[in-house]
C-alpha cells in the first residue's frame, strides 16, 4: 500500500506543475486609447503610429492589431515618454485596401482607420484576350483585358486610363484608350478586314504587358461554287468521284478558316438526298461521292451555315452492257442443290464488274410463283445456291439482273 501511495504522490506532484505564468501589467489602462495614424499611405511606404499620450504609464505594453481584407497583423510596443510608438515598414503596408487599427491594453481600447493605396503599376502586366479568334463578319469582336498591379501585387482599382495599340495583319496600326475601372482595364477589339494575327500592346502608366495575339479569321463565305471531278461516271455503285468547292472567301476576300464544316447535298432521283459532311482546308472542302447503282443525273449543292451554293449536275451512266452475259443452272446431286451461275459480267469498258457487285436473281415456277435471291460477283461471276428440298416437280425459269442488263435460263425438276 505504501508503494501505491508513493506512486500516486509522485504523479500528483508532476501534474501540479503550472508552468510559466505571464506577468501582470504594472499599470492598468482604462477608457479609449488615442491613436495618431495617417489617413492614407501608399503600399510599401513606412508607417508611423503613435498611441498616447498617457500619464505615468511608462512600461505599459500596448498591442496594435491591423485588420485588413487579406491579413491580420499584430504588433507590440511599450509606452515610453507617454507614447507607444509603432514604426512599421514595408512588410506592414504591402497590401492595399482599407485597414482597421485596434490598439488595446488591458481594458482600454482605441480604433482608427487607414487606407493603403497601391503603388505605381509595374511590368509585366497581365493581359488577356478573349475569344482568341474573331470572325471577320463585321459584327464579331474580341475583348482585351489588362490587370494592372503594383510591385506588391495590389490591383490598381482606379488607375489612370491606359493605352491600347492594335496592329492588324495588313500592317495597319490603331491606337485606343484603355479605361481602367475596378482594377480592370478593358476594351473591345474589332476584327478588321484581313485575316491573320492581330498583335495587341497594352500600357498603363509605365507598365506594359507581354504582347498578346488575337487571330482574325474569315467570316462566312460570300458565295460557294461546287465542282465535280469527273462530272460523268459509271453508275456501278462503287466508283468514287470528288466533289469540291472553289476556294471560299468571305466578303473581304479572306479564305474560310480551316476546319469549317461544309455539307454537300446530293439529290439523286429515286432515293432520298445524301448529306456529305466535309471541312475546309485552304478554303476548299472536298468529299468523295459514290456512284449510284443505276444511271441517273445527280444534283449537288454545298452549304455553310446558311449560305448555299447553286446546284451543279453530275451524270452517272449505265455500267453494264445490256444482254452482255448469260445464266446457267448446274445440278449438284451429291449436294442436293442447284447452282445458278452467270457468265462473266462485263462493264461498258469491257472489264469485269467489281467483286461484290449485287446481282438480283429470280426463280419462277410453272405456276408463276416467284423466289427472290441475291448474289454477289466474284471474278465477274455471280452464283446462288437453291436447295432441292425447296423445289417441287415442274419447270422453272431463272433470271439474273444487274443494272439494265439481264439474262435467264430454264430447268426442270423431275
Amino acid at each position: 500500500m505504501m508503494r501505491w501511495c508513493l506512486l500516486l504522490i509522485a504523479i500528483s506532484l508532476g501534474g501540479c506543475n503550472r508552468g510559466n505564468v505571464p506577468a501582470t501589467p504594472i499599470v492598468s489602462l482604462t477608457g479609449e486609447l488615442p491613436l495618431e495614424v495617417p489617413r492614407i499611405v501608399r503600399a510599401g511606404e513606412d508607417l508611423n503610429i503613435r498611441v498616447g499620450p498617457f500619464d505615468e504609464a511608462d512600461g505599459v505594453v500596448i498591442e496594435l492589431m491591423m485588420l485588413g481584407g487579406l491579413s491580420t497583423q499584430l504588433y507590440q510596443a511599450t509606452v515610453t515618454d507617454d507614447y507607444a510608438s509603432f514604426e512599421l515598414g514595408e512588410t506592414a503596408t504591402r497590401w492595399s485596401g482599407h485597414w482597421t487599427l485596434i490598439a488595446h491594453s488591458g481594458e482600454a481600447e482605441g480604433r482608427a482607420s487607414l487606407r493603403i493605396e497601391p503603388a505605381e503599376p509595374v511590368s509585366p502586366m497581365t493581359v488577356l484576350v478573349g475569344p482568341r479568334s474573331v470572325p471577320l463578319d463585321g459584327e464579331s469582336r474580341a475583348m482585351v483585358v489588362a490587370l494592372p498591379e503594383d510591385s506588391y501585387g495590389n490591383p490598381l482599382l482606379n488607375a489612370q486610363s491606359g493605352r491600347l495599340q492594335i496592329t492588324y495583319p495588313d500592317g495597319q496600326v490603331k491606337e485606343a484608350i484603355l479605361p481602367v475601372r475596378n482594377g480592370v482595364g478593358r476594351a473591345w477589339v474589332p476584327g478588321g478586314s484581313v485575316s491573320g494575327r492581330i498583335n495587341l500592346g497594352v500600357g498603363i502608366a509605365e507598365a506594359v504587358g507581354a504582347e498578346t495575339v488575337l487571330e482574325a479569321v474569315a467570316g462566312l463565305p460570300n458565295a460557294i461554287e461546287v465542282l465535280a471531278e469527273p462530272a460523268e461516271s459509271l453508275a456501278d455503285g462503287s466508283t468514287l468521284i470528288e466533289l469540291r468547292t472553289q476556294p471560299m472567301r468571305d466578303a473581304f476576300g479572306n479564305l474560310l478558316v480551316d476546319g469549317s464544316l461544309v455539307t454537300f447535298r446530293v439529290e439523286i432521283p429515286g432515293e432520298e438526298p445524301r448529306n456529305l459532311p466535309a471541312y475546309t482546308l485552304d478554303g476548299v472542302a472536298r468529299v468523295p461521292l459514290q456512284a449510284p447503282g443505276r444511271a441517273a443525273i445527280a444534283e449537288v449543292r454545298a452549304s455553310v451555315y446558311t449560305i448555299t451554293s447553286e446546284p451543279i449536275e453530275v451524270y452517272f451512266i449505265n455500267s453494264v452492257i445490256a444482254e452482255g452475259f448469260t445464266l446457267r443452272a448446274i445440278v449438284l446431286p451429291e449436294e442436293s442443290a442447284i447452282l445458278l451461275v452467270t457468265s462473266p459480267i462485263q462493264d461498258q469498258r469491257g472489264q469485269l464488274v467489281r467483286d461484290g457487285t449485287l446481282v438480283d436473281f429470280t426463280l419462277r415456277d410453272s405456276r408463276g410463283r416467284l423466289q427472290q435471291l441475291q448474289g454477289v460477283t466474284t471474278g465477274g461471276r455471280a452464283t446462288v445456291e437453291i436447295r432441292m428440298l425447296t423445289l417441287q416437280v415442274g419447270d422453272y425459269t431463272a433470271s439474273a439482273v444487274i443494272g439494265d442488263a439481264a439474262a435467264s435460263t430454264t430447268f426442270s425438276v423431275r
Partner: protein, 1075 residues
Amino acid sequence: MKRRLNPYVLLALALALAYHGVLVYSTFRRTYDAYVHIFFGDHYARTWFDHWDYRWYTGFPLTSYPPGSQQSIGLLSKWVGLEGGFVLVQLFAVLMVTIGIYRFSKIWVSEEAAGYAALLTVFSSSITETIHVFGQLPTTFSLGFLLNALAFAHRWFKKGDPTMLLAAWALNAATTAGHHVTTLFGAVFFLGPVVVLDLVDKFRTPLPDEPPQHPGKVTRGNLRPLLMRRLRRIVPVGLRTGLYMAGLGFILVMVVLPYWLWSKDDPISQVPIPHSSRDSFLENTAAGLVFWLIPYGLPLVLLPYVVYKGLATRAWPMMLSFLLLFLLGTGGTTPIPKLLLRGSFDILTLDRFTFWATILMLPLLGEFVVSMRHGRLAKYIDEQFGRPTRYTVSFLLVVGYLIVSVFTANLTYFRRFQPAAIEVQPIVNFIEKDEHWRWRYMTLGFGDQVAWLSAQTTATSVDGNYHSARRLPELTTTPVERLEGAKFRGIPGIGSLQQFLAVPEKYNLKFIFSNDQFYDPLLYFSGWHRVQRLENGIMVWEREGIPPLPEVLPRKEIPLWQRFMWGIVPMGAIGLALIVLNLVFWSDYVQRLLRFLGIESLWRKLRQKAEGNFIQRLWNWLDGYMKRWSALPTNDDSPVTHWQVWLDWAARIPRPQPVSPSAKTVRSGLLAVLAIGVGVMVLNRYLAQASDPIKVIEAYYDDLDFRRFGEAYQRLDPENKPDYDQYLLELSINGGLLASYAKLDAVTAEILTIEPERIEAQVNTIWITAVEEYATSRLQTLVKRNGRWYIEPDSVDVRRAPDVFIRRQEVEWLAQGRRRISTGPTDYADILDRPLIQVISSRLVQVGDRYHVVGELINQSADPADVTVTGYLFDEQGNILSWYNAVRGTVHKVFPYERVPFRIDFEGVAGSVLSDAATAGEFAADAFSPLDLDSPIASFQVIAQGVVTARDLFRDVAIQDVNISLGIDGQQHIIGNLINNGTVEATIPQVLVTFYDETGQVMWVDDEFVDVAIRPQLMQPFDVQVTPPDSIEVLLTNKGDRPLMEAGERTPLLPDIGYNSMQLNVRYFVGAVGS
C-alpha cells in the same frame, strides 16, 4: 507432470506456415477482398485516429467496420509495407485458426482426433478458399480468436476457474475487434453447442455429495427429488453461463462502441446487393461450385459418417448446429433458409454459414481419421474388403483432399475472378501530375484492384470497394457494389454508371481510368474523350468543363473520445488477447509483478472475504435446500424399467462377419468396376453433346464470345472452311460494337429445315453492350461429316474498296495546354477559349412518362468545340426541379459552323424506383429511371457551354441510299448506307435523325447505333426506327429561339410520316485512336 505437446498440432502449424505462407503471397492479389483490407490498413497507417476517409464515395466513416485486422496491417506496414502487413496478419490468422481448431476439437473428440483435425485444417478447402480466393482476412482473423476463446469458456463452465473466464473474455474482445459478426453468430453456432454440452454433461454427472441411490422408475413420489437433483447439478453451469454471456454482451458493445453508435446515428438505408450465395445452386451451378461444393470439398463424401458420428456421440449439440448451418448455407436452393432468416436473407452472405459448417465438421473428420487408422472403420474395411483396399481408399482420400486444397488455392489461376494485375504506379503518376488530384476519378474494369490504387494516393473517387459505406443516393438506392464493375449488375449498375458519366460535374468527376473497353462506347457517346494510354495499358478518359473539388470537403464528425476509443480499444483488445494466449511464457513475471504491487495478496484477501459474504451464504443456503430436496423417499422400491428400446433394436441388427480372402478380392474388384463405370458414363455424356447440332451452335458462339478461336475453328465444316490464318483474318476485320464491345448474353437456335446431312437453323443471339442491348437473328447452316455436325463457314465479304491507295488532306488541331514546363498553376494565357455556342431552338416534350428537351445548336466560333448541353426544368417559383445533360442524343465535338441536334433525356436517380432494384442482374442498358417531380414544370432552360477541343474530330462518314419504309413491326424506318470516306475505321457509328415541324422547330431527335464497324471506303447499312410523332407531346417551346429555316440540309418528308422534314447526322467512335 509436464504436459506433452500433441505432435500433430506442431506438424499442422509448420505445414500451415509452409503451405499458406508460400501461397498467400502470390494469391492474395487475385482475391476479392484483400486489397479492401489493405486500403483500410493504409488509412490507419496514414491517420490512425481519423475516423473519416475522403477517398471513396465522396467520404465515408471508418467506424463502419471493425478495425482489428486492418489496424494490424497498418501497424505492420511501417516495417514490411502494406502488402507484407496483409500477408503477415493473414498468416497469423491461419496459425490461430489451426490452434483454435485443435482446442475446440478437444471439447468434442479425443486428443488424437483433435490433432488430426488440426492437420486437416491446414488443407481444408474452405479455409483455403477463404484465404486464397476470397481474401477474407477478418473472417479468419476473428475465427482464430473465437475458437481459442471457446476452449477457455468451456473450462470456465466446467470448472468455474475465474482466470479461464477472463481469458475467454479477452479472446472474445479480440474476436469482436476483428469482426463483430463472428462474435454475434459465434455465440449461437459455436458457443451454443458448448453451453449445451456442458449443461448436459453436468446434468448427467452426479455431484460428489449427492445421495447415491437411484430409482429404477420415475414415480410421482420421486419426481421432485429427481428434478431437484438435476437442477442442483446444472445451476452452477447456468450461473457461469449467465455471467459469461453478460460479459460477452458488454464486450461486444464496448470494443466497437463507435461502430454501434455509427450504425444507430447514421443508418444508410441501402438496397441489398445481390449475392450468388443466395441463388439456387442447382440453377446457378457456378455459385454452387464456389459457395458450396468447394468449401465442403472432398469431406462431402464423408458427410454420412460425420452426421452419424455427430448424432451418436456427445458431439450431438455441435452436430445440430452443423445441420442448421448446412441448411442455411444452401442459399436459395431450398426455401428453408429464407423461411428461417426472413428479412435477413437478402442482407446476409450465406456462404459464411457454409464456412462455419465446414469448421464444425473438422473435429468429426479428425475422428474419422482415427477410425480409419485403427478404429472400427479400419476393422470393418479390413474384414470386408481387405487391408489393401483400406490403404488404397485412405491413400485416395488423402491425395484427393490435398488435390482439392491445391486446386482451390489456385482456383484464381484457372478461373479468373479479377482482371490481370495492373501496375498502378503510372496511374498514381498521372494523378499527381498537373494537380489532377483536384478532381475526382473513377476506374472501370479494375476489379478489387481499385482498392490497391486508392491505397497509393490521396486523390478521391466517387466509387469505392466497400458498399456498406456508400452515401450517394445514386449508389445506395441500387444494388451496385462498385460502379467500376457496373456491367455485372444489370440496369441498376449500368444505370448508375450512366448517371455519373452523364452529369460528371455534379461529382467533380473528370478522369476515368479504363481497363475494360466494354465501356468505351458509353464513355464516348456520353461526351468523354481519351487523353492517353498509360504505359500499363490503362486508357485515361477525360471530360471537359468539370469544376475542381472545393478546398474543404464535407465530413461527418464524431466526438473525440470515440476517435480515441476506435484507435485504442480494438488494438488493445488484440494485444491483451495475445498476452493471454502467451500467458504460459509471461505468467511467472506477471505473478511477480502482481506480488510486487500487492495485488496478489489483495486478491487473496478479497476471496477470503467473499467466502463469508452474503452471496456466498445465500448460495450455501440454496444449495443446501436443493440438496435436502434431492433426497429420495426411503420407501421407493420401484422396479427398474428398461425404456431405451432402440438400443435393443440396434443390438438385433446382424453384424457383418469377416469374409474370406477371395470374397475380399471380389468385393474390391466390384468397387473398382463401379468407380470405372461412373467415369465412363461421364465421358459418354460429354461425347453425346458433340452430336447435337443445337449444342454445336451454342458451343460455337460461346467459343467466339470467349475468344477461343481455335475451338471455334474446329467446329467449322472441314471440307469448306478456310485455313486457320484466313479464318482469324476474317474474324479480325469484323470490328464494331458487337464484335469488340459486347458480351454474348444468350444464344438460342431453332432448326428450320432438316436434310439427312444438312440442317438450316435460325440462330438468335442477345448481346450486351454498354449503350444498348442487341438482339440479332441469322441463318446458320450445319453439315454432317462422319457422324458429327459442323458449321458451314460464313460467306466472305468479297467487296473491294474502290481505291488501293487513298490520299486525304486533313486539318489537325492541337490544344497545347501549358506552353511553359512548370509545376505551378496553369497560366491565365494558357487557359483554352470557350467557343461561342448558340442554341438555335429548344423544346420541352414528353414521350410516354419521360421528359426530354430537344433542339439544335451551332458552333459559331472558328474553333472546334467540346460542347456540354444542360437542360434545366423549373417550377412556378423558378426553383430547379431537375437538370441533366445531353448524352447519346447529341454530338459533343462540334466543328466550326456545324449545326448539331441535341436531345436531353431527363432521368431520376438510377435505381430509386423499386421495380429497378427488382431487375438487378437483368441487363437493359437503355432502360432509365423515371423523373420524380415535386411540382409541375413551369419553364425550362437550355445552357450550352463549350471548350476548344482538338480531340475526336471525325466527319468522314457520309450517308447515302436513304429510304423511308414501313418495317415489319408496323413502324416507319429510315434505312440507308453509311460510307466511310476517311482513312481510319469508323468503329461504332451512330446515326442521329432530327425531325422538324413546319416552322423549322425541332420536334424530335432519334438515334441508332450501327453494330458493325465501317472500314475506309466501304459501306454498312443502318436502320433507324422512327418515333411516331403522335407519341410526342410538345409541352413548352422557348420563345427566344431563332430556327434557321433557310438551311439547305433538311430533307422534306411526306405528310404521312408526320414530320415536316428531317436531317441526318453521323458521329462515330474510332477505336484505334490513342491506343
